[in-house]
């Protein structure tokens, strides 16, 4: 719970002020009936007009003070709860952003979104509700208890039974409600998950005409959410009447016991009436308290879910001063690198990869689907860390380096272009925030994207939808390349990022890179052998292991797998009439 102390420290004072204001409000509320009684007794009963006006004036004065206190409390509590909620959300978001992909994979993405929105809201509602009535209810409750006990200690024995029973009911409420609300929030996660998936895959849903199936899936989760919410609410619905009934039984007992004592001559009827009045006051305040606890139950479930995220410590480590060792050469070494997505025990995705990439060298990487190409290059910018062996940048083990430092020098163009909603300009500037429009256009030109961007009615200011949906696959890839180029990295990683680009365009991009990339270390994954055959060296991966390394000619002579790939793509073409011409 260490995470929460800072909020208490920060908002404790304001909370205290709200507490005082609520106490003042409660005091004014308590004064009102007395003033009214005196107005009736001293003014109306004796037909004394000045007394009526005087007490009327006092009443208004007390009302005004109460209203001021309540308004002040309202301002303070609104500020505190909203600020607290927004700060908590911000801390949670920052924390999530700081975690490594490996840590994040423990959570469903949709669930993270729910935790950042709905769960924060639940806690915020609780804080606000608590500040509104927290002070008031206990003050009224304790005040009435004290008054009742002073009035008649004997009758108070009834309270000795009633109060613990009510306490037990509230405790039971939390105990039962907590897991139920956990279930509600989990159902909310699933609802969000289905929704999120539907939105991301809407094209497939439409293409396969699967509305019915999706509706059914959604209907199931929706029904599950309904059931868990209704169940939780129904369980909760028991406790208020139960508390009501307990206190009311207390009232019956007081009257009965009081009757016996009055019969014995040791008590007056008036005491019973007053005692019952206090019991009613206690009942009222207990209902308020139980309302706060109802919110507490929900909030507790949400706090647990947030805590779960907050308690994940980022396992990425580095040495602060290792950055000085980077000489900016752009050399990359893989030394006996093995990697498994499931830690040392899992099935290895890479096994004993050895490769040294000299500064400025272009390495082509080729291999069949699932052979570990993307995994291998992902180790350089520390998207994942090698399970065994070491990946070195400029001769420094990347695990000693701050990931930020590495990623500043290494730019990745992923297989799947991830574009964000915003303008094309914004998307390219993802690579480097302070790039001028000139530089952005320059990068776009190299990525063969400038022409089609410029042809759009709004050019670089064209707005993209989430994921860049309004562009074709090849256009997205080219913007994604421009984004990496504008970064002016030392090491450029192209992960099969021209698969949807036509050949002429690809050739243009490669030509531009060749002139720009002089001195730039480049790792180039591709499916087409033509894309990699002019690389300085080519790494052939098969099943996570190196199947061959060398230039095109060497591999063509010596590497069986490379020969197969070559034949599958080009062998046939060589015999085609067109090429022979």
């Amino acid at each position: 719970m260490g995470n929460w102390v800072k909020y208490i420290r920060k908002y404790g004072l304001s909370f205290g002020v709200a507490f005082l204001l609520v106490a003042m409000e409660a005091a004014c509320d308590l004064l009102q009936p007395t003033l009214l009684a005196r107005m009736i007794d001293e003014g109306v009963a004796t037909l004394d007009r000045t007394a009526v006006l005087r007490y009327g004036g006092y009443m208004l004065l007390v009302t005004a003070v109460g209203a001021i206190a309540a308004s002040g409390r309202n301002i303070v509590s609104s500020q505190v709860s909203q600020r607290f909620g927004s700060e908590l959300r911000s801390d949670l978001y920052r924390h999530i952003q700081s975690l490594s992909l490996r840590n994040l994979d423990r959570f469903d993405r949709a669930s993270l979104v729910t935790r950042l929105t709905n769960d924060v809201t639940q806690l915020q509602n609780f804080v606000n509700g608590m500040m509104r009535i927290f002070a008031k209810a206990p003050i009224l409750c304790i005040g009435s208890l004290v008054m009742a006990i002073r009035l008649n200690p004997r009758l108070s024995l009834v309270l000795v039974v009633v109060v613990p029973v009510v306490g037990a009911l509230i405790a039971l409420n939390i105990r039962i409600g907590f897991p139920m609300f956990l279930r509600v929030q989990a159902a909310m996660d699933r609802l969000n998950g289905i929704m999120r998936e539907y939105l991301a895959g809407v094209r497939v849903v439409k293409a396969f005409n699967r509305f019915a199936g999706e509706s059914e899936k959604f209907g199931r989760v929706n029904e599950e959410f309904r059931r868990s919410s209704a169940n939780a609410m129904r369980r909760m619905a028991v406790f208020n009447p139960a508390i009501l009934l307990t206190v009311n039984f207390g009232i019956v007992a007081v009257i009965w016991l009081g009757g016996l004592r009055v019969d014995g001559g040791s008590m007056q009827v008036g005491h019973i009436v007053a005692f019952v009045n206090y019991m009613t006051q206690i009942l009222f305040s207990l209902m308020l308290i139980s309302m706060v606890f109802n919110m507490l139950v929900r909030a507790k479930a949400s706090v647990g879910r947030m805590q779960e995220v907050l308690s994940v410590r980022d396992e990425t480590t580095w040495q602060e001063d290792a950055g000085r060792l980077l000489d900016g050469s752009g050399r990359v070494d893989f030394e006996r690198v093995s990697f498994s997505y499931n830690g040392p025990v899992g099935a290895p995705a890479l096994k004993g990869i050895d490769l040294s990439v000299r500064p400025g060298e272009t390495i082509g990487i080729i291999g069949s689907t699932g052979s570990g190409k993307s995994t291998l290059v992902g180790l350089v910018p520390r998207l994942h860390d090698a399970t065994e062996g070491a990946v070195k940048l400029d001769g420094v083990d990347v695990r000693l380096l701050d990931p930020k430092l590495v990623r500043d020098r290494v730019a990745v163009v992923p297989q799947k272009p991830m574009l964000f909603s915003g303008t094309i300009l914004d998307n390219i500037r993802w690579g480097r925030e302070d790039a001028t429009e000139e530089e952005v256009a320059e990068a776009a030109r190299m990525a063969a994207a400038h022409d089609f961007i410029a042809a759009l009615p709004e050019g670089y200011r064209t707005k993209l939808g989430q994921g860049g949906v309004n562009l074709s696959g090849g256009q997205k890839q080219r913007i994604s390349i421009a984004r990496a180029l504008v970064r002016k990295p030392r090491v450029l990683i192209l992960d099969d990022c021209t698969s949807a680009v036509d050949v002429a365009t690809e050739a243009a991009i490669k030509e531009a890179l060749r002139s720009y990339a002089r001195g730039l270390t480049c790792l180039l994954i591709a499916q087409r052998i033509t894309s990699v055959m002019d690389a300085d060296r080519i790494l052939v991966l098969e099943g996570g292991e190196v199947a061959g390394i060398g230039d095109h000619e060497t591999l063509l002579r010596e590497c069986r797998i490379y020969q197969e790939i070559y034949r599958s793509q080009i062998g046939e073409e060589m015999h085609s009439d067109g090429v022979r011409a």
Partner: protein, 621 residues
């Protein structure tokens, strides 16, 4: 639960400008002027969902009515018991009467608790059912929306309507419904009692009613627009969060954490600021109401005092009158509060209905027929399409594909190849010309049956969470395990699936994250193979697959292409050379058309493209 909620209202439209001063005729009860019509409309639509539960709501109303009787019985029976203890004119305690009264009291209390519980129990069901049907209706609506709707919005923003906004409606319904009912009953009851006691004093205490009304209206006017803004901001924040969490890999790769946090903070701050204002405004209601109440008490006391001087009322009447007017005021306050909470619910409802009012994909034309097992003859007749008329993406395109023919579309990126496919499947509607399948305009077929005949492998493969089997079965749900395996084998996916620890029952993480891009594409192909479509569309279906694997897939594809009209979009020209017809598309028009050999002989665009692709090899060879 507290009336203030963090979630409030709003929609992305610019804030409404108060147009007409004064109340429009027939405007909603106490609705703020500038939004009266919308609010009333929203309320009415909301009622169409709430109204489905009117049977249960009537039961709840009956329970509340009965409970009000029991609540009144309590004080009365206490009075009787006290009288019994005092005894008839100072005698001893009348235990017989006391016992009877206490038994009655106990029964009343038990009844009250039971009715209160039953009420809460029923309302939980009612409110959750209402919310469920609302959510269902919104989700069903999503199916009818055109792709353009999804393409122009952040997913998180749409999600927010389905979760946060509907949640707001839910809270409002469950909080206010019983309060509204019991409030009306209590007000009616005390009003009758007060009128019976003294019509003049009743008039005096009614002074507060217009004040309460004015106050509630003034505050609701503020809060309704603030809530609306709050819901809209919440939607934006949700969109921001969802997008950056979904794309966190890119965020990390580009060191963009600080930047996305900055964007998040912006939205978060906006939400906080509007949240504070909304909460403060709605929080003012209660303290100000208590000021009005106390003014009311003072008025009754003063008027009462003067009437008493004139001998028109007794002191006792004034005393009980004040206690009745207290009973009158409490539910009045509750109603004012309900009105305020309602604003927040309506703000949510408004955003839900706003999505429901979005323009749908065009309805099937009257008399449209189902398309079943077509021969697969496709014809484009002078087809034109553009998002805006002055920038057509496809212009005057005409071609014909005979049944069973394979047609390849080639051309530079952005030439309009995918658009041709989108037009054929009616993801987009043509803006000119027409498309025929088996000699009939595709707009004359029902949309569902039309899409049913296509098997599409898209550029962006998308897999759903679930097992591999589920994902392949997406193509045809009633397929047997054997058929699934056959389809996977045909797509050359069987081998790698079997290597997975759990084979076909392997759970895919979100969007198939635990598979490589190529493996995902194999699954997408298996999905289509299983669907056995009449017309096949392969949109860069094999671009992320290595060429050795691709060869195997091509064999499989050739197999399923047999007898099916097929459209292939590809950049690797060697993958399409066997197509019956190749169309070179550029800038939305067909530049060349013919078989591979014909086009090579022609030495036009295709010839140049083909040569270009193998230039390197030719140079080296």
């Amino acid at each position: 639960m507290a009336s203030e909620r963090e979630q409030g209202a709003g929609r992305p439209n610019p804030p409404a400008v108060p147009l007409v001063p004064g109340r429009p005729p027939g405007g909603g009860r106490g609705a703020p002027v500038q939004k009266a019509k919308d609010r009333a409309g929203t309320l009415k639509r909301l009622w169409s969902y709430i109204g489905r539960e009117r049977k249960w709501l009537a039961v709840v109303f009956a329970l509340i009515l009965a409970d009000s009787g029991l609540t009144l019985a309590g004080p009365y029976l206490i009075g009787v018991s006290v009288d019994a203890i005092s005894g008839p004119s100072g005698g001893g305690v009348d235990f017989g009467l006391l016992e009877a009264a206490l038994i009655g009291l106990t029964a009343a209390y038990v009844g009250d608790a039971f009715l209160t519980w039953l009420q809460g129990w029923l309302m939980a069901g009612v409110s959750q059912r209402i919310v469920k049907s609302l959510r269902e209706a919104l989700f069903a609506k999503l199916h009818k929306l055109p792709l353009a709707y999804f393409d122009t919005r952040r997913h998180g923003e749409i999600m927010s309507r389905l979760s946060n906004d509907i949640d707001n409606v839910s809270t409002t319904v469950s909080q206010t419904t019983s309060q509204l009912m019991s409030g009306v009953i209590a007000i009616a009851g005390s009003l009758v009692m007060m009128l019976a006691l003294s019509p003049l004093l009743t008039l005096a205490s009614l002074i507060t009613v217009p004040l309460v009304y004015l106050l509630a209206r003034t505050i609701a006017k503020r809060t309704s627009s603030l809530f609306r803004e709050q819901q809209a901001t919440l939607g934006q924040l949700n969109g921001q969060i969802e997008e950056t969490i979904s794309g966190i890999e890119a965020v990390k790769a580009f060191n963009r954490e600080d930047k996305v946090i900055e964007g998040f903070e912006d939205a978060n701050r906006k939400l906080r600021d509007v949240g504070i204002r909304a909460q403060i405004w709605s929080g003012f209601l209660m303290p100000l109401l208590s000021v009005i109440n106390n003014i009311g008490f003072a008025a009754v006391a003063i008027v009462g005092g003067m009437l008493a001087v004139k001998g028109m009322v007794t002191v006792g009447v004034i005393a009980s009158f004040i206690s009745y007017s207290r009973q009158f005021v409490r539910p009045l306050n509750d109603l004012a509060n309900v009105y305020n909470v309602l604003q927040s619910g309506l703000a949510g409802a408004e955003r839900v209905f706003e999505a429901m009012d979005e323009k749908e994909e065009a309805e099937d034309a009257a008399g449209s027929v189902r398309l079943t097992a077509p021969r697969g003859e496709v014809e484009f007749e002078n087809v034109t399409f553009g998002y805006c008329p002055d920038a057509p993406i496809v212009r005057g395109m005409s071609f014909r594909a005979k049944a069973g023919e394979s047609v390849a579309l080639v051309g530079p990126t952005g030439a309009g190849k995918t658009t041709v496919v989108n037009l054929l499947t009616r993801f987009y509607e043509t803006t000119g010309g027409r498309i025929l399948i088996d000699g009939r305009d595709i707009r004359e077929y029902t949309r569902d049956s039309l899409r049913g005949v296509f098997g599409i492998v898209l550029q962006d493969t998308y897999l759903f969470s679930g097992t591999i089997k589920d994902n392949i079965k997406y193509g045809r749900e009633d397929a047997t395990d054997e058929e699934v395996r056959e389809a996977a084998a045909a797509a050359n996916a069987d081998a790698f699936i079997r290597q997975l620890p759990k084979g076909y029952d392997t759970e895919l993480s979100e969007n198939g994250g635990n598979l490589s891009q190529g493996q995902r594409q194999l699954l997408a192909i298996a999905r289509v193979v299983l669907a056995k479509p009449s017309i096949l569309i392969l949109d860069e279906a094999t671009s992320s697959i290595d060429t050795r694997t691709e060869r195997h897939i091509q064999e499989a594809l050739l197999h399923i292409m047999r007898g099916r009209t097929t459209f292939i979009i590809a950049h690797r020209l060697n993958t399409i050379r066997d197509a019956d017809a190749i169309m070179v598309i550029d800038k939305g028009t067909i530049r060349e058309k013919g078989s591979h050999d014909e086009l090579m002989r022609k030495q036009g665009d295709y010839y140049r493209m083909f040569r270009n692709q193998f230039k390197n090899i030719v140079q080296e060879a």
